[in-house]
Symmetry: C2
Subunit: 324 residues, 2 copies
């Protein structure tokens, strides 16, 4: 079995060889700029690890794995327009560095290039790969739409929030794993279990991100905390606090989230104090552990040996232990 | 052989059955709004006619034909943002009726739905269909990028303009025909000839559109003429006039195209008068006929009987005889 580093090398090489240079430069430069940013390559790594877990050849999963990575980066280009985000991984976002039209059109091209990579898969697997890839792409768009709608909705339930992060974040991790399972000739049951593993893990991962945004160590987290609070983002922390806090605290939390012209430090500190009163950090850690344990339960169901599963479990742990 | 009307019925039914309803409504309503606008359905019609020409079953070409139609409509959503177009087929464009973010995200979803349709094709044809579809999608983006760049470029050659409209408009018509050829088990040579037929026809079609925008009969053309002139669009007419007009006329044409605050009627009439001096209407008609004849030459190369070709020739003629 290849190590994580060896698999990451394969991913890096494949990305370096993508057809993302050439004319018109105004279209391709933003694409190579985006794909050359050293991300974690988490999704393609999960795909290759999953293929290996089921005894498949990681090379066979590589085209679909790269397709997922390109698709993920494409969604960032369009999301950054929608979220008006100036920075991504410490660098200017495409719509800021170029303009909105470029970010739209270069993003569209990336989506097509992603399918171009996918189509280099083994033809006998292509219909199944296209099905999961396309279903997932649509779900990610649905998740992003819910995210947009929740910004202005006064009535978001915890269930609908979890469903939103499932669609926006978790299904793509799940699909990465399923793609590996398909190329590794896993049984339908195993492919479903590994998908569910990724889905639960992805939800835990996003909840962890929400938690770190409020309570993380800034040095380890790699960015300033409190961003979600300042943008009035109704994360699990906020929704749970509205649920369990005293009536007075819930009211003042709602009030704080309706204000736009308040001193940043003061707003963060007042929201965090309400979160602390309601024990939100512990409650969030608890639900993260619940999803994590459900994920591991799914992983236990798959046929491959304990040894083969270990690599996936390691990744799962590292995803949740990060930045603490 | 089915008639054009029978084929259009199939297309209409397939579009009515698309999975473009449901939640989140904010994502799907703009999609059904777009797809329910009765367009000419020219691209899927070409695909089905082509399949039939090669003795294939139009039903087998239907998923890919619908994929092309959805893709085409998706590009309109994003192009209308880029071109700041308020109206399309007499109705408000999606970004105007909703907003830019919705037009971006609903468009992205349509792109995925297009591939979802494509993947319902016969699995043995899927790799070839994906290849032409993806290559074409990328080329259409390249064409749109060139179109954007030409707006601010002072130095556009006629060749690069023709290449731009080839990418932006012609290759999708060509791909529609090729998709029909693939599902009809055409030989490689025939598939290539029918592609070239579509490419040449598409260039003629776009040049005709440029011509009608300046010299068309407004009632038959269905919209006001002079739009390209008012937006200083460097079409074939403009580029050819710069080439062949007197030095004084060329200079004043350039000057007119640099002005923004001029009376509309006056600007149109002065530009048209320069076009007339340089015999641009006749010169454009000549190049349209050249491309049309090249298209028909390609059509003659394909193996199927004269009778089978007749339907495609009829469509080609009707595309160029429209609105005169």
């Amino acid at each position: 079995m290849l190590t994580t580093d060896q698999l990451l090398d394969k991913i890096r090489q494949a990305i370096n060889q993508l057809p993302v240079y050439g004319d018109p430069a105004g279209l391709y430069e933003p694409i190579s700029y985006t794909l050359n940013q050293e991300g974690k390559r988490l999704r393609p790594l999960l795909a290759l690890l999953s293929a290996q877990t089921f005894g498949g050849n990681p090379d066979e999963a590589l085209p679909a794995a790269i397709a997922i990575e390109i698709f993920h980066n494409f969604t960032l280009l369009h999301d950054d327009i929608i979220d008006e985000a100036p920075l991504r991984r410490g660098r200017e976002t495409v719509y800021k560095k170029w303009n909105i039209n470029t970010a739209i059109l270069s993003g569209d091209t990336m989506f097509a290039i992603a399918y171009g990579q996918l189509s280099a898969s083994n033809p006998s697997k292509l219909p199944a790969l296209m099905k999961i890839f396309t279903q997932t792409a649509i779900e990610v768009c649905e998740g992003q739409q819910y995210d947009i709608e929740f910004e202005t909705s006064g009535n978001v339930s915890i269930d609908s929030y979890i469903n939103m992060i499932r669609l926006k974040t978790a299904v793509l991790l799940a699909a990465s794993l399923k793609i590996g399972a398909i190329t590794g000739n896993a049984s339908k049951e195993d492919a479903y279990s590994i998908y569910r593993f990724g889905e639960k893990l992805g939800i835990a991962f996003q909840l962890q991100d929400d938690l770190l945004d409020a309570f993380g160590n800034e040095t380890l987290f790699g960015k300033k905390t409190g961003g979600d609070i300042l943008t009035n983002k109704k994360t699990y922390l906020y929704l749970k606090a509205i649920d369990v806090a005293s009536a007075a605290d819930a009211a003042s939390l709602k009030d704080l989230y309706s204000r736009r012209n308040m001193n940043d430090e003061e707003k963060i500190s007042r929201v965090l104090s309400i979160f602390r009163n309601a024990d939100i950090e512990k409650l969030t850690e608890r639900i993260i552990m619940d999803y994590y344990n459900e994920a591991i339960d799914e992983l236990q169901k798959i046929k491959p040996s304990e040894e083969a599963r270990a690599a996936l479990k390691n990744i799962a742990e590292s995803m949740l232990l990060r930045k603490k």
